[in-house]
């Protein structure tokens, strides 16, 4: 049975190893899709609707076509079809320069017949609202109902009850590199696309289907990419358009989304509104939970959220539905449905604990079935100094008040089969590890080098890792669901082990030892029973001549495991006169199985916490009912954390077992709940709406006074 061995046996795995691409990234040498410039390349731009709902009556491309420097203009939407949200694609151009392309899309004349629209959940649900989906009544989907136990019986046992409404607005992904592609045809049968994508092979297959080509005639390359967070799983309209423009013009075409388009159409985390009534027994058991909630994911569905979350409730009823609005659609976003659900649940837990007169951590201990989190509560509480929190919320003196809170999370991240990989040992001793996965900035490239180097007794820098290219024909799945590490690691390990085995078979006769007795370490192959028998790595591989060793790997169930529990503690300070909130410290205790690279694992946790922090204190999409437009489709009024907002983050890699578990998504889950509870502990008034901005804090304080 394959295993990753004991920690004591690992030379590299589990250590802190700097990212292999780090130097290239900070020096600017690393090429992102945005940086790809092909000889003779054209620039693509897309004309988008500024109207949220309209019939397309006419599109006139002629003026744009006549502009010097314009090489192609194509309609994207057909006349007679409907525009259903601001930002929807109308037409596209390819031109000699980006400036000409920008001018050209403004010369496309579009005749739209405006239709009534709704862009906020409240407007969509209002009596007499315009119906924007034929298949839903009142712009609302059929509610999904779940029942367990005996709700009324549960409430009958409750000593305390809380009834509250929690809300989280739509959040957008804000990938620092916007969605985009550079597409180039070699002839009309062979397409190469540089894509900022989370799915090299998914993008290849989509484009092959679009252009009716055999998959092996489409090559997709993603050397480095600047963030996807769930929003980049295929070429999308913009990728297909880039490829289309490239085919029409016979030139390379670069088409990257603008920041505005990125906010409008490239996905978002749906909103959540939940009205919940819950009860607990006098000895602190969560006993009954009744929740009605909704969210919007644009005109599509997909606005689910977790409710209840992580804690055990025996008697419950939940009713959830989607609300349709004329706004760009949701896409998966880092732990879809979890952070907003966790925020509501952890707020509710604190409200119940307070009614019971219980320490919120004690209340969690009673209701949390996860042994892992139980241990994390102890560790995290110690690290933040939980005993320092206000035992009476809001009881701190002075204008600036501090408080502490806790939140919890849960994720899968167990990976799955479907990755192919190859490890090659060349006669000069060089080693290549190749697979079709992609490194979104998570560090999987470095992890692959670590695994291969550990197996082959080399250093990570000795391994040349090739990822982010479909050409070697070694598919791997899209990087979503925190699955990449757990899917790729077993296959790389078994490929490296197989290559090693082949090399041992070659060398064993020379060393006059059975293959099973050979080991490799420190660039040397040796015989375990007679350490005088050794051969240097390069001398051994030198004998391969033209016959490089090249071995594939196998999926191995035993090398990975799903399930990642997490707990976070937050300390905040609230200026009660200005409503300004600073997060002082976050302690993130994150279950993650075997951390292949402790350094990049911590980095993932830091990144998740920062994203959760943004959702907790800053990020909110503002939709204007009068114009149907997003008012903050930029990075001035759509605020994301900067250096001033980022607190001390103590990322604790809580490695509970030696099997690989993905950790990309879970660290963003508990943050908003922990911060919301800390704010309450600081000021003694609860803000039940994200983000917790100065206006909401001041309004809550004013209500408390009144």
């Amino acid at each position: 049975m394959a295993s990753w061995g004991e920690a004591s046996e690992s030379r590299l795995i589990g250590k802190r190893i700097p990212r292999l691409s780090g130097r290239d990234k900070v020096t600017g040498k690393a090429k992102y899709t945005f940086d790809i410039n092909r000889p003779g390349m054209l620039y693509g731009r897309i004309l988008r609707s500024e109207i949220a709902h309209a019939n397309v009556v006419g599109i006139d491309l002629s003026e744009a076509e006549a502009l010097p420097g314009v090489k192609a203009v194509i309609p994207i939407i057909e006349v007679g079809k409907k525009i259903r949200y601001q930002g929807q694609e109308i037409a596209a151009v390819a031109a000699e320069t980006d400036d000409i392309a920008k001018d050209a899309i403004r010369l496309i004349r579009v005749d739209l017949e405006e239709l009534p629209y709704v862009v906020t959940e409240a407007d969509a649900m209002a009596e007499g609202a315009p119906q924007i989906r034929d298949d839903w009544e009142g712009n609302q989907s059929e509610p999904g109902v779940r029942e367990a136990g005996d709700l009324e019986g549960g409430f009958a046992q409750a000593a305390v009850e809380v009834e509250a409404t929690y809300h989280a607005p739509v959040q957008t992904h804000v990938c620092l590199e916007t969605h985009g592609h550079v597409a180039e045809w070699e002839d009309d049968q062979n397409l190469t696309v540089w894509a900022s994508t989370q799915a090299v092979f998914g993008t290849r297959n989509d484009l092959a289907g679009t252009f009716d080509l055999p998959a092996n005639q489409v090559r997709v390359i993603t050397e480095h990419m600047g963030g996807g967070f769930g929003s980049k799983f295929g070429p999308g309209v913009e990728g297909r358009t880039a490829a289309n423009l490239a085919r029409m013009t016979g030139r390379g075409v670069k088409l990257m989304l603008t920041r505005k388009a990125e906010h409008l159409v490239a996905g978002n985390r749906p909103s959540m509104t939940q009205h919940v009534r819950a009860g607990a027994t006098s000895d602190g058991r969560l006993i009954a939970y009744d929740m009605k909630g909704y969210g919007t994911g644009g005109i599509s569905s997909g606005a689910g959220f977790q409710a209840p979350y992580v804690y055990h409730v025996p008697n419950l009823r939940t009713e959830k539905m989607n609300v349709a609005v004329n706004v760009g659609n949701q896409r998966a976003m880092r732990a879809p449905g979890h952070p907003q659900g966790a925020f509501a649940m952890d707020s509710l837990m604190d409200e119940l604990a307070e009614k019971l007169g219980m320490n919120p951590l004690e209340f969690r201990r009673i209701n949390d079935p996860s042994e892992v989190r139980q241990a994390q509560y102890t560790l995290g509480a110690q690290e933040i100094g939980w005993h320092r929190r206000n035992s009476v919320p809001g009881s701190g003196t002075g204008v600036k008040k501090r408080g502490m809170g806790v939140g919890s999370g849960l994720w899968g991240g167990g990976g799955g089969p479907g990755t192919q990989a190859r490890v090659t040992i060349n006669s000069d001793g060089s080693v290549e590890a190749v697979t079709g996965t992609q490194d979104l900035g998570t560090g999987v490239r470095t992890a692959i080098a670590i695994i291969a180097a550990e197996e082959l007794g080399l250093n990570p820098t000795d391994i040349s890792v090739k990822v982010g290219d479909s050409e070697p024909g070694l598919p791997s799945g899209g990087s979503g669901g925190s699955q990449t590490m757990a899917s790729v690691a077993p296959v790389i390990k078994t490929a490296a082990a197989a290559a090693k085995q082949k090399l041992f078979e070659r060398i064993a006769p020379q060393l006059e030892a059975p293959v099973e007795d050979l080991r490799v370490g420190n660039h040397t192959i040796y015989v375990v029973s007679d350490r005088t028998k050794t051969i240097k790595w390069e001398l051994a591989t030198g004998q391969l001549g033209m016959e490089s060793i090249s071995e594939g790997g196998q999926w191995d169930e035993e090398l990975r495991q799903g399930g990642a529990a997490g707990t976070q503690f937050a300390e905040v300070e609230v200026d009660t006169e200005t409503g300004e909130l600073s997060v002082i410290k976050i302690v993130a205790v994150q279950d993650c199985g075997l951390a292949i690279n402790r350094l990049t694992t911590e980095s993932q946790i830091n990144g998740g916490v920062i994203m959760g922090l943004g959702q907790a204190i800053l990020e909110e999409r503002f939709m204007d009912a009068q114009t149907g437009r997003m008012l903050n489709a930029n990075l001035e009024d759509y605020k994301v954390p900067g250096t001033f907002e980022i607190p001390e983050i103590k990322s604790i890699v809580f490695d509970t077992h030696r099997k690989v578990t993905g950790v990309g998504e879970p660290p963003c889950i508990p943050t908003p709940g922990a911060i919301a509870n800390a704010v309450y502990n600081a000021i003694g008034v609860r803000v039940r709406e994200l983000p917790i901005t100065p206006d909401r804090i001041l309004n809550a304080l004013a209500e408390q006074k009144a």
Binding site: G579, E580, T627, D637, K639, D695, L698, N699, A702
Partner: protein, 326 residues
């Protein structure tokens, strides 16, 4: 952005000649460009000609002597922030300057551009929304989303003036020198800014053919304390949700005179005569400072989403007063 021709200015006469009889928007001045470029890129402005002021000789630099300060319009915000005399004797101005945007923007953004910058209102900055300020019929903030809008002096246009330097300079009693076809004139900076009731389309008295060349600040008084308090949602870059520029001449805990100017709450920097009256001649304690705070906002008329600014402004004014007394 639309195409434009670009002229490097060589003299003030040339600039005013280029500006003359073009009206607003045809010929525009560019200094650091940190505000203007965004307007051009969003097609909010589409000038035919840009006149680059940075090539004008002698318009940047800070003169500090017994007669006070003279700051050229092309002086960068960064240079104001780090000037030792300003830091020591005109603290409110140094604090306001360092609160502006980010180091990069402060390094290129100028004083003239800071005073003449256009509103940040999210309806105004959207090319396709034709609001009252841009010649349309309605102010969308009235029925729309108004979290960042005015609580004082709004009607009929509810922008807030975005400048951080302006409230500080007005609190220091600054004057501004303007050059037009008829030559040079100097006026108080407070009167330079106008409310929408007078002119909904512009934020100051500047005519299309005029240019700001410098700002003068009278000598700092002894026993004066000054502060710039700016509340915001994020560290940087962020505009003020509300700000207070306070200059207090103190005799121990007694306030001999006070100058209180609010930012981020009105379409122009808002001198709070009410707060000044509540403090002048008083021994400052918690009660007096609270009174000054509530007097400052007694005429506030919040829109749907910005009532919080009333509390915020009130608290900032009280805080500034308490700081003066401590």
């Amino acid at each position: 952005m639309e195409k434009f021709s670009y002229v490097n200015a060589s003299s003030l006469e040339q600039v005013t000649a280029l500006l003359s009889d073009s009206g607003w928007g045809e010929v525009m001045l560019i200094a650091g460009g940190t505000d203007l470029l965004a307007e051009l890129k969003e097609y909010v402005e589409t000038p035919k000609t840009l006149v680059n002021l940075k090539t004008l000789p002698g318009m940047d630099g800070i003169e500090a002597d017994a007669s006070g300060l003279k700051i050229g319009a092309l002086t960068t915000v960064a240079d104001i922030a780090k000037h030792p005399t300003i830091q020591h004797h005109y603290t409110v101005l140094a604090q306001a300057a360092v609160s502006v945007a980010t180091p990069q923007i402060r390094n290129v953004g100028t004083l003239g551009g800071n005073l003449c910058q256009r509103p940040r209102c999210w309806y105004y900055r959207d090319e396709t929304t034709d609001c009252l300020k841009k010649g349309g019929d309605i102010c969308y903030a009235v029925d729309g989303l108004s979290k960042y809008h005015a609580i004082l002096g709004g009607d009929p246009v509810y922008i807030v003036h975005p400048s951080d330097l302006a409230p500080a300079l007005i609190a220091l009693g600054a004057s501004v020198t303007i050059v037009g076809p008829e030559g040079e004139k100097t006026m108080s900076l407070e009167e330079f800014f106008t409310l929408p009731a007078a002119n909904p389309y512009r934020e100051n008295v500047l005519q299309p053919n005029e240019i700001v060349i410098s700002v003068q600040v009278p000598p700092a008084q002894p026993n004066t304390k000054s502060f710039y308090l700016k509340a915001r949602e994020k560290g940087a870059p962020d505009f003020a949700l509300a700000s207070v520029a306070g200059v207090f001449e103190m005799d121990g805990k007694t306030c001999k005179s006070a100058s209180v100017v609010l930012g981020g709450v009105a379409p122009a920097p808002w001198r709070s005569k009410e707060a000044e009256a509540a403090l002048t001649g008083k021994m400052i304690n918690e009660m007096v400072s609270k009174q000054a705070g509530s007097d400052a906002v007694k005429d506030a008329q919040p829109l749907n989403d910005n009532a919080y600014k009333v509390t915020l402004t009130q608290n900032l004014v009280s805080r500034a007063a308490m700081m003066a007394a401590s």
